[in-house]
């Protein structure tokens, strides 16, 4: 079957070859075929949205090409539409004007614009609201306007960038159901839907095909068809098995792609350890929970904590990085060190955390050692930013430092002056711990 849009070896990178080169998306092949809902899953910050924008022609790939019906895409694709996470409605236009705007861009005369827009508004259940302004509507209704605006151009491919994640749970569920109904009853002339999401259940509920992206740089981990009959039931054991399988793929970055279409080239250089952006308190909370359970399925844990997997993953990563927990087959298990930490009192916890951070966290270790070595025990932010710039994008480098500051402060290893933009070791700080030898923690 001919794909409608096809990405061939597209990649995205920032900076120039050589120093400061960061690859966000590794060379990737991905095709959108007619008559399917394709869900693209991946952890946050993995480049899902960038991939969507490259397919839609909004972003230029750094290398490779996007083919739309046999032609290379040079600008925004014709005949596609996007539903945005933030709705992206124009607040100064009424609902009707918002929906009619794409038609106006295509030169459709006023009477016809109004007629077609009203028909679409009717389809998405917004009749009667055509003269309201977006700010008068609830989140769910705003996204309905977003859908109407996308459908009014009768797009061949409907792109959706986390369309339900800004909505509350019930509204999102309701909209998903309606979308599925429109799709199945062929009430929308769309031939393919491309859905970016971080919600695994959403993907399993809606998609005919699921592609899972890995992170740093993004590459396809697995790509498979979902053959569950519709309507799909969350309680169905095949449903939960599929969800579990995707969880395992997502939580085990080292796992070889199970059903992936290709084996990817090895990384060219050792990667710098990445700090997960987890609040230190959440790590402690997770360990306390694991103290009772010992070992638990990550899926159940997320449920018990009423966390999205996206929020839980960094916390688990942090615990693993610190040596307080380990992950096996989608299960999290507390280590003896983690047990000791969870059992300890406030002050003892601080000490344990300090030792674990110095031993296991490269960045914290580096900051601490650099400050110790420096006369006056103080260094500007730029010193560490330069260090991180080689490995991370600018924003990520900042985020890395912020997490390091947060953890470093808790561990009382160093402090940071936001005004002067400098790291320093406070006068009364305890000297470096006796304990882990510092030399072996550098890699």
């Amino acid at each position: 079957m001919q794909p409608i849009i096809e990405a061939r070896k597209v990649e995205k990178s920032y900076g120039s070859e050589g120093d400061g080169f960061i690859q966000v998306i590794a060379p990737t092949d991905l095709a959108v075929y007619p008559d399917e809902i394709l869900a693209l899953l991946g952890p946050s910050g993995s480049g899902k949205s960038t991939l969507l924008r490259m397919l839609a022609g909004l972003a230029k790939p750094s290398a490779g090409e996007v083919i739309h019906h046999g032609h290379e895409v040079g600008g925004p694709c014709e005949n596609v539409a996007i539903v945005f996470q933030s709705f992206a409605l124009f607040p100064w236009l009424t609902v009707l004007e918002n929906v009619a705007a794409p038609l106006k861009a295509h030169g459709v005369p006023a009477a016809q614009r109004t007629e077609r827009s009203l028909r679409i508004l009717d389809t998405v259940g917004l009749d009667g609201f055509e003269n309201a302004y977006p700010k008068e509507l609830s989140g769910g209704m705003k996204q309905r306007v977003g859908f109407a605006r996308a459908l009014v151009v009768e797009p061949e491919v409907l792109f959706m960038d986390e369309p339900f994640s800004a909505l509350d749970v019930l509204t999102a569920e309701n909209l998903r159901g309606e979308l599925l109904e429109l799709w199945q009853s062929h009430k929308m002339p769309t031939r393919a839907v491309f859905l970016v999401t971080h919600n695994i259940e959403e993907a399993v509920l809606l998609a005919d095909r699921i592609v899972v992206l890995g992170k740093n740089p993004a590459r396809i981990r697995t790509d498979f068809r979902v053959s569950l009959p519709r309507p799909r039931e969350r309680k169905d054991s095949r449903f939960t098995q599929l969800v579990d399988y995707i969880y395992r793929v997502l939580t085990r970055p080292d796992l070889a792609p199970a059903a992936g279409p290709e084996v990817l080239p090895e990384r060219t250089r050792p990667r710098y350890q990445m700090l997960p952006h987890a609040p230190r308190g959440a790590v402690a909370g997770l360990l306390e929970m694991l103290l009772d359970r010992g070992r638990d399925d990550m899926y159940r844990l997320a449920g018990a904590l009423s966390f999205e997997i996206d929020d839980l993953l960094p916390v688990v990563d942090a615990a693993v990085l610190l040596g307080f927990a380990k992950v096996e087959e989608g299960d999290v298990e507390i280590t003896p060190a983690g047990r000791e930490f969870a059992d300890a009192d406030i002050l003892r916890r601080k000490e344990l955390f300090r030792a674990a951070a110095l031993e296991n966290i490269t960045l914290i270790h580096q900051i601490h050692r650099s400050l110790e070595a420096k006369e006056g025990h103080s260094l500007p932010d730029t010193f560490f930013e330069d260090l991180l710039d080689e490995h991370f994008s600018e924003d990520e480098a900042k985020a890395q430092l912020e997490t390091a500051i947060h953890w470093g402060r808790y561990a009382e290893l160093f402090d940071h002056d936001a005004g002067a933009r400098r790291f320093f070791i406070p006068e009364e700080a305890p000297a470096a711990l006796a304990g882990p030898s510092t030399s072996e923690a550098t890699h």
């Binding site: 924008r53 839609a56 022609g57 909004l58 040079g74 600008g75 925004p76 694709c77 014709e78 596609v80 539409a81 996007i82 945005f84 996470q85 933030s86 992206a88 124009f90 607040p91 100064w92 236009l93 705007a101 794409p102 106006k104 861009a105 295509h106 030169g107 005369p109 006023a110 302004y133 977006p134 700010k135 008068e136 705003k142 605006r149 151009v153 936001a418 005004g419």
Partner: protein
């Protein structure tokens, strides 16, 4: 039902009202046409550089009209220029850095020192028509108004959310539709507020430039500014009060008829997801919206026109992106433009250097003396402004009842351009026997303290009440309360006000340190006085030097003092919700 008669009565009231409204609108349109005729006859008439200024109150309506038209024309020019400049700066990646830097510097150059050059050029352009002198005044007003508007539009364009831009691109908006439905609405609120500030600034300059001496040539344009100066020169107290009254009346009228409706109207462009509770309203706007005539005008003329424009610009270019590679001729044109600009700048620099070569050492030393003196005056006026406005502003901001009374009063006081009050104040100063050295500080204060006051009030109102409650609960001492709650809370606002005030004070020095009065010249040592006297004497090299020194001083103070403070305010003292 009993509501029926009431309802029909309401309908009748509505009907009669709208007929009256239509009459008013119709009359306003007629008045505009008549005004246009008067103005064109006057502008295209023979040049009378020294208009006879009639001191009787009966002449005031015409003078007020002339002044208002100058402001309006200058403003429209500024708006068009600001939109164009902001647009190019935001979208042309190669020019962006340069254009923003130019904005920054032009904002700090004292506009009044351009007066001689601009005037002479315009008079040379239209040697026999009144238009020449008028154009000079209008261009001067334009240069005083345009920069902050351009910057505001540029900043709005740069801050349009990414997903809105992407929506416009994926749905194939052409440049026109993007401008009308995305860029202009997004920038509207910033433009309206900056327009208000700009026009206030315009009045300031207009009052100064309606009547001035240039070498041996005397220029006097009929208007409110020249009326006030003439009245003060003659010591005619009655005329002064008539003039001030007319001026305040005009400013209040413009506020009610133009700015209030504009603010209320632009509220729909607020980029917010949830409707806010307090919305600005304007009675005039509500009335206008009810006028049948205007409604019909909109449906019969405006809507079809907008539709035709939309369809005409749609499709073309909307679906076809420009070819990716840079076109050769475009590149050539770009280079040619850059080279000719560079050549022009080099030539101007060379000319300037030639002009400056004739400077004498005493002129140089007096410039330095003057710079120091004016610097001191600006600093003192800022300190005085801060000293009284901080306690007053905090008191007003913390007390909603007081704020309701004080804010409109302060706004009224601030809306009167300081330059209009100069002649009056000067009269008082001379009667009291004060010198201009100290008097000019007072004059600077007059123009600048309001910026600080408004910002302090806004800052005090923005301090969250729970922070103040913390101070109450823990029984902070008065000093502790100021140091830990109030001063940090108002700090960002205070800095904003002080930056604006400092710019205003430098500009005011030109008119405050040097004055023609009753046939004699009052002046004191200062950079502003030097600029004015060089203008009078037609001493272009000294004028150039003083202007450069003043601009350099303003830029340096901005870079060295205000910008770091600004950064501090934006990082440490930002109250995040």
């Amino acid at each position: 039902m009993s509501s029926r008669p009431a309802l029909s009565r309401a309908v009748i009231a509505e009907r009669t009202w709208s007929v009256l409204l239509d009459l008013v609108v119709f009359a306003a349109v007629l008045a505009c046409i008549q005004g246009l005729l008067v103005m064109s006859r006057y502008w295209l008439g023979a040049m009378t550089p020294v208009a006879h200024i009639d001191r009787s109150p009966r002449a005031l309506p015409l003078y007020a009209f002339y002044s208002t038209v100058r402001i309006a024309v200058g403003y429209v020019l500024s708006l068009v220029f600001a939109l164009g400049y902001g647009y190019i700066a935001a979208y042309n990646r190669r020019l962006e850095g340069l254009m923003v830097a130019v904005l920054d510097i032009l904002q700090s150059i004292p506009v009044l020192s351009f007066l001689p050059g601009v005037m002479l050029a315009m008079v040379a352009l239209f040697p026999t028509r009144q238009l020449g002198v008028e154009a000079g005044a209008i261009i001067l007003i334009f240069t005083g108004q345009v920069w902050n508007m351009a910057f505001s539009f540029y900043a709005s364009l740069k801050s349009i959310p990414r997903e809105l831009r992407e929506a416009a691109r994926i749905y194939g908006f052409g440049a026109w539709q993007r401008f009308v439905e995305l860029e202009l609405p997004y920038g509207a609120i910033g433009l309206v507020w900056n327009s208000m500030v700009s026009v206030a600034g315009g009045w300031f300059f207009l009052m100064a430039c309606e009547m001035f001496v240039l070498g041996k040539r005397d220029f006097r344009l009929p208007g409110l500014g020249s009326y006030l100066q003439t009245a003060a020169g003659a010591g005619d107290t009655g005329a002064i009060f008539w003039g001030l009254g007319a001026m305040i009346g005009v400013i209040l009228l413009i506020d009610q008829v133009v700015w209030r409706p504009a603010i209320a109207w632009s509220d729909k462009f607020k980029f917010e997801q949830v409707e806010s509770t307090a919305q600005p309203t304007s009675a005039v706007l509500n009335l206008l919206r009810r006028s049948n005539l205007l409604v019909r005008w909109r449906t019969a003329v405006m809507t079809p026109l907008a539709e035709r424009a939309a369809l005409r610009f749609a499709r073309r270019g909307a679906m076809f992106e420009p070819p990716a590679g840079p076109v050769v001729w475009k590149r050539v044109a770009g280079w040619a433009g850059a080279v000719s600009c560079g050549a022009a700048i080099l030539y101007a620099l060379f000319e300037a250097a030639m002009t400056l070569r004739t400077l004498t050492t005493p002129e140089l030393t007096s410039t330095l003396h003057g710079a120091a003196a004016t610097f001191g005056r600006v600093a003192v006026s800022l300190v005085i402004a801060a000293a009284w406005t901080i306690p007053a502003g905090v008191a007003i901001g913390f007390n909603p009842r007081l704020a309701r009374i004080a804010q409109p009063l302060a706004q009224l006081a601030a809306s009167v351009p300081a330059t209009a009050l100069f002649p009056v104040l000067l009269l008082a100063l001379i009667r009291m026997g004060g010198g201009l050295g100290i008097g000019s500080i007072l004059l600077m204060l007059l123009g600048t303290q309001w910026y600080v006051l408004f910002n302090v009030i806004a800052g005090a109102m923005a301090i969250p009440s729970d922070l103040r409650e913390v101070a109450d609960v823990f029984r902070f001492s008065k000093w502790q309360r100021w140091r830990t709650v109030i001063l940090p809370g108002i700090f960002p606002y205070l800095i904003t006000g002080m930056v604006t005030a400092s710019g205003g004070a430098w500009n005011a020095s030109i008119v405050a340190e040097y004055f023609h009065f009753k046939g004699q010249t009052l002046s004191t040592v200062g950079l502003g006085a030097q600029i004015s006297s060089a203008t009078d004497a037609g001493n272009s090299d000294l004028l150039l030097l003083s202007t450069i020194v003043m601009a350099a001083l303003v830029v340096c103070v901005n870079r060295a003092l205000w910008r770091p403070l600004y950064r501090l305010a934006a990082t440490r003292y930002k109250l995040e919700v």
